[in-house]
């Protein structure tokens, strides 16, 4: 599906572009029918193909589980995994007495789309912590313990409350405060903290559905070109560092590659204080700002890149 087919939601499309360019994780929160699932599926169309190194890693995993169709060579397309929310713990992270990879490993170097994020069971959600941080998962059984790679891009979508309309400007939420709190408590702080971009998806303005004035220029090809350019910049930057994307940077690499000027530094510190963000969130903002600068083709991370990156942390229906 082409991203240009989706009406409105320019803000979310921009967030998806940043994800595709820098490998960042994203959570979309919004009322039902606002286009969260469609947007996530359109992400595939703005993702560049796998590089040769990545392709070997992915083909290895798919060969192991027998998911390569007959008469097919190296896999070139990035995987897109969309597990249902009733998935078991072992199905997600891998398991068995001779362990086999789970969904997070099958999504290696690709996208793990978790629709209805808050409906997943608690152990499944919490099991994502280690792979989100380290890019691999260790499955230990009594007989053996194996490491599976799991460097994936997490795209999550959720409603803000059981009825789905909490924070909707047009429709009133019918849930009690208690219900909302319980619903949102499923998404624990540590998990949300590990997700780089948080965006609200608002319902599309009904008038725009019929207007012929759609944004034709923002189609998948246009965004893909910019993503490709950003990838090129990153592969040049990280040559010999053993990583591919901005999201993989360690803290020392962030220091090295995100040289902030004094005004951007000031802005970032203000934001961290105002929204009481964690240290992890502080570094995540720097990485996202780096990606935004790469999309714009700029060498230094300027104040407006920081400002845009901060936006993706500060506003969400979740309390």
């Amino acid at each position: 599906m082409d991203i240009g087919e989706i009406i409105g939601q320019e803000y979310v499309k921009r967030a998806l572009e940043i994800c595709a360019a820098g490998g960042h994780n994203l959570i979309m929160v919004g009322p039902p029918g606002s286009g969260k699932t469609m947007l996530a599926k359109a992400l595939v169309s703005i993702l560049p193909d796998l590089s040769e190194e990545e392709s070997i890693e992915v083909t290895k995993i798919y060969s192991l589980v027998g998911k390569i169709p007959p008469n097919c060579g190296l896999l070139r397309k990035r995987p897109f995994r969309n597990p249902h929310h009733t998935i078991s713990y072992a199905g997600m992270i891998g398991g068995g007495s001779n362990p086999l990879p789970g969904e997070i490993t099958l999504a290696h170097r690709g996208v793990l789309f978790m629709d209805e994020f808050s409906e997943f069971t608690r152990p499944v959600l919490e099991s994502l912590r280690q792979p989100l941080e380290s890019g691999k998962i260790t499955v230990s059984r009594s007989r053996c313990s194996v490491d599976f790679p799991s460097k994936f891009m997490l795209i999550a979508s959720s409603n803000p409350c059981p009825c789905g309309h909490y924070g909707d400007p047009k429709k009133e939420c019918t849930c009690s405060e208690n219900k909302i709190r319980n619903y949102q408590a499923k998404l624990s702080g540590p998990i949300l903290d590990r997700i780089d971009l948080h965006v609200n998806v608002l319902p599309v303005d009904k008038n725009r559905l019929f207007s012929s004035n759609r944004s034709v220029e923002i189609n998948s090809k246009y965004i893909l070109d910019r993503v490709l350019k950003a990838h090129e910049i990153q592969s040049k930057r990280f040559e010999g560092e053993g990583i591919f994307f901005n999201c993989d940077m360690s803290n020392s690499q962030i220091e090295k590659y995100c040289n902030l000027k004094s005004d951007s530094k000031k802005l970032l510190l203000q934001a961290v204080e105002k929204f009481s963000l964690s240290t992890r969130a502080y570094f995540k903002i720097m990485k996202v700002a780096r990606t935004i600068a790469d999309i714009n083709g700029e060498n230094d991370v300027e104040a407006d890149h920081i400002a845009e990156a901060v936006q993706y942390r500060s506003k969400i229906f979740l309390q």
């Binding site: 589980v65 060579g73 190296l74």
Partner: protein, 208 residues
């Protein structure tokens, strides 16, 4: 008579080498037995191989045949041990030697044809990292296996074509090598010369 065939075992995404040892004893009651921690899918290989042999008009030695999957302390899983076992049995019963730089891999069907088997890419990667230059895989897996540079992939259609190839009657030509990094010409010439020598030896042995 003892024959050794090379194959692999998977543990997570790591690949280990496995020796499939086939011993045809000089006496004993006719039978075929597999040891070396096979799981159900490997143990059933016995029946697949035996039936495929029958349906291809090949005869198993009418003596006690023992098959060992070494190292014996690792669990063996998967249906791909059919081809190494079959190749070893062909070698033992028809007295044909096998190339020693080759890995065998694939699931047999009752009619002797080879089915699509998962994991052939891992096989080729293992072959490359450990200095094996040829792999024998089912023909539907050939493209997957051939996506590793510098490995000669022999696409085996069925058991009879393997017998003809090993016997030197009709050679299966290996899948084109994708691209080689170092001095591709010399490497290619070397392999083809080896192949030629090996084939002519076969033909010579047959004619005498």
């Amino acid at each position: 008579m003892l024959v050794k065939v090379k194959s692999i075992a998977n543990r997570g995404i790591q690949t280990l080498g496995v020796d499939v040892e086939i011993n045809v004893s000089s006496g004993g009651l006719p039978g075929l037995e597999i040891v070396g921690l096979p799981d159900k899918s490997v143990a059933e290989s016995r029946d697949r191989v035996r039936t495929a042999f029958q349906n291809c008009g090949l005869k198993l030695p009418g003596r006690k045949i023992m098959i060992n999957l070494a190292p014996a302390d690792i669990n063996k899983e998967g249906s791909f041990y059919d081809l190494p076992i079959a190749a070893g049995l062909i070698s033992a019963s028809l007295n044909i030697s096998l190339p020693d730089d080759a890995l065998f891999f694939g699931e047999l069907s009752f009619d002797g044809s080879l089915r699509h088997t998962k994991g052939s890419f891992l096989l080729s990667l293992y072959a490359k990292e450990n200095g094996y230059s040829r792999v024998f895989v089912p023909s539907s897996c050939a493209k997957e296996a051939a996506s590793v540079n510098g490995i000669f992939v022999y696409a085996v259609e069925n058991l009879s074509s393997l017998v003809e190839h090993l016997g030197g009657r009709r050679i299966i030509s290996p899948s084109p090598v994708v691209h080689l990094q170092k001095n591709p010409k010399i490497f290619l010439i070397k392999i083809y010369q080896e192949m030629k020598i090996w084939t002519s030896e076969k033909l010579l042995a047959k004619s005498t």
